[in-house]
């Protein structure tokens, strides 16, 4: 099996050890897809901690009725920053980071199609996040407005107009998203070009690993969905700085139009975040079940179908604004339709595990929890797709619980699965299994403690985004359990961070292929050399490493 040329690698690392500034400089000017991928993921994790602390502050405020831990104004800012950060500066960088790191390795390429565009896109994304948070430093001092954006993560018009949001805090929100959106589009273009044009010999579209396929679908969705967001942000910018009237209801502008534009982006965005989670599960579950993925072509078709259907469901966020019955029906039906390909995927993952020789390593544990929790998210999703049901529960904590089951129970769990699975490849060291188990179980307990009761608070009538509530309405017990769960989640994240730091220094040596896996990234050394593969590989099946390890019984005989 090909491994790194030892002299080349040694020379590289010796130069890298010279001094801290020169090492940092190397990273800052790097166009290597692996380094950019790791920087994407690291920046995402950094913002994850920040946005997690914001959520913690909100949960402390809501733990008891009529609390005054934070002011109403501060609560609105926390809520806005938490949502905006988690979607744009945690979710997006982490999924794009994994795509960056893994896609070229999995298709047997030496880098992305456009390495410099790749670096540009990453830095745009990072500086977008920094711009959002610099609103704390700059906005108040100059214009006497509020210190941080407080318009909510979807920033409904006309609240964002100059008349209602004076000062510059909303402009920071607006520009941060505009800037990071350009980065996302750049990376999406790069991923599409890489997937189509950089595959090694023999890797036809039908032989690509599912992770590559699913990230290809995601890149397509980014191309179609981020543009409308960018357009809407430009319109808002024109409104706020040049006195245009796009969303100015006093001059005949429409507030509902913003909602349409935002959700034309916003709902595909959910799948942009979630489909990569499916991608990690589709790689990890087969390896830890010791079976090929069940129904590969159906998995690809279902992913593409999810991509298409997700473009036509956006107004299910708007059932309460008073659309026509025909529109309500259309969006209710299309939303329910998306459950079909998603259900197919869940059945395929279960069928992959069925009869397999399952190894319950930490990545697999996270994937199994993902299956359960994501199923809950899907079921509440179908409930909310019924327009009359949604009228009852829209803007309630039931919705908050639903989308946190999607984004934490679904996405975050698969992200952790992916980190535990590919950490050995990226660093050469295994993450500790014992700490990993603590991390996993604490997160399962904490996450479900926090978000399961929110369903009941929502059913009892608790609206989302409120900064406090009166006693005696039946909200207390659910909120107390919910806030208590944060302690477990915080402990889980602490275990994770300790695990990363500890394993980087003391973790067991991983070797090239610690999980006995089948895709090309495991054929090179850990960490891979800058050029990835000494000799570009050639493949004849979907599991090239299986073919290599079992020359007597290769996959290409059966595919």
């Amino acid at each position: 099996m090909a491994t790194v040329d030892p002299t080349f690698a040694a020379a590289g690392s010796a130069a890298g050890r010279s001094s801290l500034p020169s090492r940092l400089h190397e990273w800052a000017v790097s166009v290597d897809h692996k380094r950019l991928g790791l920087m994407y993921i690291a920046s995402g994790l950094l913002f994850f901690v920040v946005a997690g602390l914001e959520a913690t502050a909100m949960r402390i405020q809501l733990a008891v009725p009529e609390n005054d831990f934070v002011s109403p104004q501060t609560f609105n800012r926390l809520m806005t920053l938490h949502g905006t950060t988690m979607v744009f500066f945690v979710g997006m960088p982490i999924i794009l980071g994994f795509a960056n790191y893994l896609v070229p390795l999995m298709i047997g390429a030496r880098d992305m199609a456009f390495p410099r565009l790749n670096a540009f896109s990453f830095w745009m994304s990072l500086f977008g996040g920094l711009l959002l948070y610099s609103s704390f430093l700059a906005a108040e001092g100059l214009f006497g407005g509020s210190a941080a954006p407080d318009v909510g993560w979807f920033a409904y018009a006309p609240l964002t107009e100059r008349a209602f949001s004076p000062g510059n805090s909303t402009d920071y929100w607006n520009l941060a998203i505009l800037v990071s959106g350009i980065g996302s589009i750049g990376t999406a273009i790069n991923l599409i070009a890489t997937t189509l044009c950089m595959r090694c010999r023999g890797m036809t579209l039908g032989k690509m690993p599912l992770l590559v396929w699913l990230n290809f679908v995601v890149a397509g969705l980014i191309l179609i969905a981020i543009g409308p967001l960018t357009a809407a942000q430009i319109m808002l910018l024109l409104d706020r700085f040049l006195g245009a009237h796009f969303f100015d209801s006093q001059a005949g502008g429409s507030a509902v139009l913003w909602q349409h534009f935002f959700w034309i982006f916003g709902h595909p965005e959910v799948y942009i975040l979630m489909v990569p989670g499916f991608a990690y599960a589709s790689e990890i579950i087969p390896v830890f079940s010791r079976k090929v993925i069940f129904g590969y072509p159906i998995m690809v078709a279902a992913s593409v179908a999810i991509g298409f259907i997700s473009l036509s469901v956006w107004a299910h966020h708007m059932f309460a604004v008073g659309m026509t019955p025909a529109a309500n029906t259309f969006f209710a039906v299309s939303t329910m339709l998306v459950a079909v390909p998603t259900g197919i995927k869940i059945f395929n993952w279960i069928a992959t595990m069925w009869g397999g020789k399952i190894r319950f390593a930490t990545p697999m544990l996270f994937c199994i929890a993902f299956l359960f929790q994501f199923l809950c998210a899907g079921l509440t999703g179908v409930m909310l797709a019924c327009a009359p049901f949604d009228w009852q529960l829209t803007d309630s904590y039931f919705v908050v619980a639903h989308f946190h089951y999607v984004l934490i129970g679904g996405l975050l769990f698969t992200i952790f699965a992916a980190i535990y699975y590919w950490f050995p490849k990226a660093t050469g060291r295994m993450l500790d299994e014992t700490l990993g188990r603590w991390h996993f179980w604490l997160l399962v307990i904490g996450f479900n403690m926090t978000f399961l009761p929110q369903h009941f608070a929502g059913l009892a009538g608790m609206p989302r985004r409120i900064y406090t509530y009166e006693p005696g309405r039946g909200f207390e017990i659910w909120n107390q359990i919910s806030s208590a769960g944060v302690i477990f989640q915080g402990a889980a994240i602490a275990f994770f961070l300790v695990n990363v730091v500890y394993s980087l220094a003391r973790g067991a040596e991983a070797g090239d292929d610690p999980w006995d896996a089948w895709t090309l990234e495991w054929s090179t050394s850990s960490p891979p050399p800058a050029y990835n593969f000494e000799v570009l590989p050639e493949v004849r099946s979907r599991r090239p490493l299986w073919d290599l390890k079992h020359p007597d019984d290769p996959d290409w005989r059966y595919e």
Binding site: M1, A2, A113, F114, I185, A188, I189, N190, I192, A193, T194, L196, C197, M198, R199, R201, G202, A219, L223, I224, A225, I226, G227, P228, T230, A231, A232, I234, M235, L238, L242, G243, A244, H245, F246, A251, G252, G253, S254, L257, F261, I264, S523, F533, V535, P537, E538, V539, R540, P544, D547, L548, W556
Partner: protein
């Protein structure tokens, strides 16, 4: 690493990454323009005060023909470059820039007239808001295109553009065709349907 045993016969062709990338960029840009066109159509006739499109807009036939013909000239330029006819390439390429610049001058003249004679600005009403935003978005794409075309032209004057660069020139030409195609939509929406 060689996984396959017999690959000599395997034909392995992949699409050109420049073409794929520019088509992806065009897809993303199309999404942006679609939203601006949707806003324009949605706000048609919803302005609370004048002036209306019928009162102030004139059909920009001449400049539109100039812009659309630049698609032909850039196509001829790329074809000349592929055939290594460098002089012909420079000529057609320069003509493309001139046509694009004339179009831009036409937009500038139209805006000058609308602002100073008709009193229509982006603040006046919803028509002004959506008109300047949509036409301005297109004009800014023309400016970006002209900047890139001019860069290539300056390089060609120094003799740096050769037949082997035809693929890259073609990528740029695809962007320019897109800008021209968007103008077909803007022309129809703003000056034909919207008037």
């Amino acid at each position: 690493m060689s996984v396959a045993t017999d690959t000599a016969a395997l034909e392995w062709r992949l699409p050109d990454r420049g073409r794929v990338a520019i088509l992806a960029l065009i897809t993303a840009e199309t999404a942006v323009f679609t939203i601006f066109v949707a806003a324009y159509l949605y706000y048609l006739g919803k302005s609370l005060g004048g002036p209306t499109p019928r009162e102030v807009l004139r059909l920009p036939v001449a400049v539109s023909i100039l812009l659309w013909s630049s698609s032909v000239t850039i196509h001829l330029a790329v074809r000349a470059l592929r055939g290594a006819r460098l002089q012909t390439f420079s000529l057609w390429w320069f003509l493309t820039i001139v046509l694009g610049a004339l179009f831009l001058a036409g937009t500038g003249r139209e805006w000058y007239r609308l602002i100073y004679q008709e009193g229509l600005t982006i603040r006046t009403n919803l028509f002004g808001t959506t008109f300047y935003a949509l036409v301005g978005l297109h004009a800014s794409h023309v400016i970006v295109g002209l900047t890139m075309l001019t860069t290539v032209f300056v390089l060609s004057l120094g003799g740096h553009v050769k037949a082997e660069h035809a693929g890259r020139a073609e990528v740029l030409s695809l962007y320019w065709h897109f800008v021209d195609a968007v103008w077909v939509v803007v022309f129809l929406v703003v000056y034909v349907v919207g008037r």
